[in-house]
């Protein structure tokens, strides 16, 4: 056997190892059997129905959605502005600010989580939804900054200069030229921060106030009692949200730009 076939086999095994469990969860979510395990005994949506009627899960789901949407809105706005400042302006201490902005990616999440918690205690602030939200913003922000920054670097300054020479003020130039050109990156940042917030567990466990559960913490809590097939169904739903949503987003974006090209040709 050649070296290449070994590499091929190894690759396939690695991917199997990664994705087989996910496939199993999704398969079992449709299993009619009482004990979420093999062999599969008929196709059923009963676990999804059970999910829908489980108040705790529905509540957790709503919390996660709200948290994800707010996190993504705040992170995207702040991150985009920060990226603009980093790429387009010079100010003292820029390098320091730049590394501080991306630091949360490098620091282990547990450390970050504990640090923020201690900080809150130091300020004698109680845990609240708002602080949970701030926590999520802190560690999703770097992703937005990095993605938007990368895009912004590729937008040539002279395009903006041309716009200004034609009479557009700097603000008009931003909205007419810069923003449309960096929009794909802003959207990507938005999806990133939503997904990251939506399936975060470490930070959330530390920061969430009593009585509030997100989908991941809810699953975690349920697992402590028993492995209910509902969890499989919930897992399937999570996968749809965190994988299908970004895919859908990029597909729509591609469709939109394709349509634009088409209308340009006619």
């Amino acid at each position: 056997m050649t070296g290449w076939s070994w590499i091929r086999i190894a690759t396939i095994l690695v991917y199997l190892f990664l994705f087989a469990p996910v496939a199993v969860v999704i398969l079992l979510a449709f299993n009619a059997n009482q004990f979420g395990s093999f062999p599969i005994q008929g196709f059923s949506l009963r676990w999804f129905e059970a999910l829908y009627h489980n108040d705790a899960i529905v509540r957790a789901f709503k919390t996660s959605l709200l948290l994800g949407v707010l996190t993504s809105a705040i992170s995207t706005t702040l991150g985009t502005l920060a990226a603009l400042a980093m790429v387009r302006y010079d100010f003292p201490g820029k390098r320091t600010v730049s590394s501080l902005l991306v630091a949360p990616i490098l620091i282990p999440e547990v450390v970050l989580a504990v640090a923020l918690l201690l900080f809150l205690q130091f300020l004698s602030l109680p845990k609240s939804f708002f602080l949970l939200l701030m926590g999520h913003v802190v560690f999703t922000l770097p992703f937005v900054v990095l993605v938007v920054q990368a895009r912004l670097v590729s937008i040539r300054r002279d395009v903006e200069e041309a716009a200004m020479s034609l009479g557009a003020t700097p603000i008009q130039t931003f909205f007419e030229i810069t923003l449309p050109l960096m929009l794909p990156a802003v959207m990507a940042g938005m999806l990133f921060s939503f997904t990251i917030s939506f399936d975060d567990i470490t930070g959330t466990l530390f920061w969430k106030p009593g009585g509030i559960e997100t989908v991941p913490t809810q699953i975690f809590a349920m697992l402590r009692n028993s492995i209910s097939p509902e969890i499989n169904a919930l897992g399937a739903v999570m996968v749809i949200f965190t994988v299908a949503l970004p895919l859908l987003g990029t597909a729509i974006a591609r469709r939109m730009s394709a349509a634009k090209m088409k209308s340009a040709k006619t």
Partner: protein, 368 residues
């Protein structure tokens, strides 16, 4: 008739980047309707000067006037300038029509007029049917025409072009150069053109500004600058010159001898010699002879006001319609560029270099 005014005027303009002075006390005028070219080696401050005129870089010291108004502190979007970059800088997400209409939107021009003006601009750059396309659907040359159309459609006070042809290949460059000059004449827009291509500069300009180290070395009509360089830098930068130290000798007469340090004697004219007469005490000068002002011949035909130096051809570079020779005279190599009639001179041939007195430019002897 209206007096010619200056579209742009620089008075003692200085630009420093920290400790580094990029432009030093520059005084310059761009007359109405004229085509002014900045020519100089890389890093000499051409772009910096252009960006100061545009308002993209602020001025450290001095005054900048556009149409006789001091505009030092006026932001770029209020200056009414047409700007064209080497990189085209079209808006990739807008159609060609919207690219060109962009500047008109900010000028309170009625909608119906915008379509009309864009169409005229597209006709002017000879691309009437591309309005619906996007920039990435055009070739480089076409994109540069659109960039030009976008800049002139707003009827700017000055058109500023920073190496607009550099990204194009040689043939297209030639064609665009003619086109650009035609459009500029047709519209009569005062234009500042930056290049480091000397043939471009010589062909297009009404006024040529040769820059070096953030300073103007010489400015004037292209032929003037070309034929009468005021410094060794200009002589060397524009075309190829032989620059040789020597002594100016003899009484004030029509043709005056110049004894070169290498031993030969050339003739120069009284007029040429007059340019260094003001330098007191010293008669040491530098003689500048352009490579293409030396005629090679196989026989010595004595002529008035002409010196023939015997030499031997060391190398021949075939350049198409011309050939470049290195001719050795008394151990020194002279550069000579001559048109080729039938056959170029052969390597190793003995020739005479015929140099007319009027083509022997005299510069002061001491260093610049």
């Amino acid at each position: 008739m209206a007096e010619t005014r200056n579209a742009v005027e620089l008075r003692n303009v200085v630009k420093r980047f920290g400790e580094f002075t990029a432009v030093q006390r520059m005084n310059l005028t761009v007359p109405d309707n004229s085509f002014v070219t900045f020519l100089g080696p890389s890093g000499c401050g051409k772009t910096t000067t252009l960006r100061m005129i545009a308002g993209l870089t602020d001025i450290t010291d001095g005054d900048l006037l556009i149409r006789d108004k001091r505009v030092n502190a006026l932001p770029i979007h209020k200056r009414n300038l047409g700007l064209v970059f080497q990189s085209y800088a079209l808006f990739p997400h807008k159609t060609i029509f919207d690219n060109i209409a962009f500047g008109l939107k900010y000028r309170k021009i009625p909608r119906s007029m915008i379509g009309e003006k864009v169409k005229r601009a597209l006709d002017l750059v000879q691309l009437p049917n591309v309005g619906d396309r996007y920039p990435n659907q055009l070739s480089g040359g076409q994109q540069q025409r659109i960039a030009l159309a976008r800049a002139i459609v707003i009827e700017p006070d000055v058109l500023l072009l920073d190496e607009p042809l550099s990204a194009l290949d040689a043939n297209l460059r030639e064609e665009m150069r003619v086109e650009l000059k035609r459009i500029q004449r047709e519209l009569g827009i005062a234009t500042v053109f930056v290049t480091h291509d000397q043939s471009e500069a010589l062909a297009m300009s009404d006024k040529l500004v040769v820059m070096n180290n953030g300073m103007i070395e010489q400015e004037g009509a292209p032929e003037d600058v070309y034929n009468n360089p005021v410094s060794a830098f200009v002589a060397d930068f524009l075309g190829h010159s032989n620059i040789i130290a020597g002594e100016l000798d003899g009484p004030d007469q029509e043709y005056m001898p110049v004894h070169l340090s290498s031993g030969e004697t050339l003739l120069t004219t009284r007029q040429q010699a007059g340019r260094v007469a003001r330098v007191e005490g010293s008669k040491s000068v530098r003689a500048v002879i352009r490579a293409e002002k030396i005629d090679l011949s196989t026989e010595n035909i004595p002529q008035d006001g002409m010196v023939a130096l015997p030499g031997r051809i060391k190398t021949v570079d075939y350049l198409g319609q011309t050939a470049r020779y290195f001719v050795t005279v008394n151990g020194r190599d002279w550069q000579v560029i001559n048109p080729i009639n039938a056959h170029p001179h052969a390597e190793g041939a003995d020739v005479f270099m015929n140099i007319a007195a009027r083509n022997c430019v005299i510069l002061p002897g001491h260093a610049d």
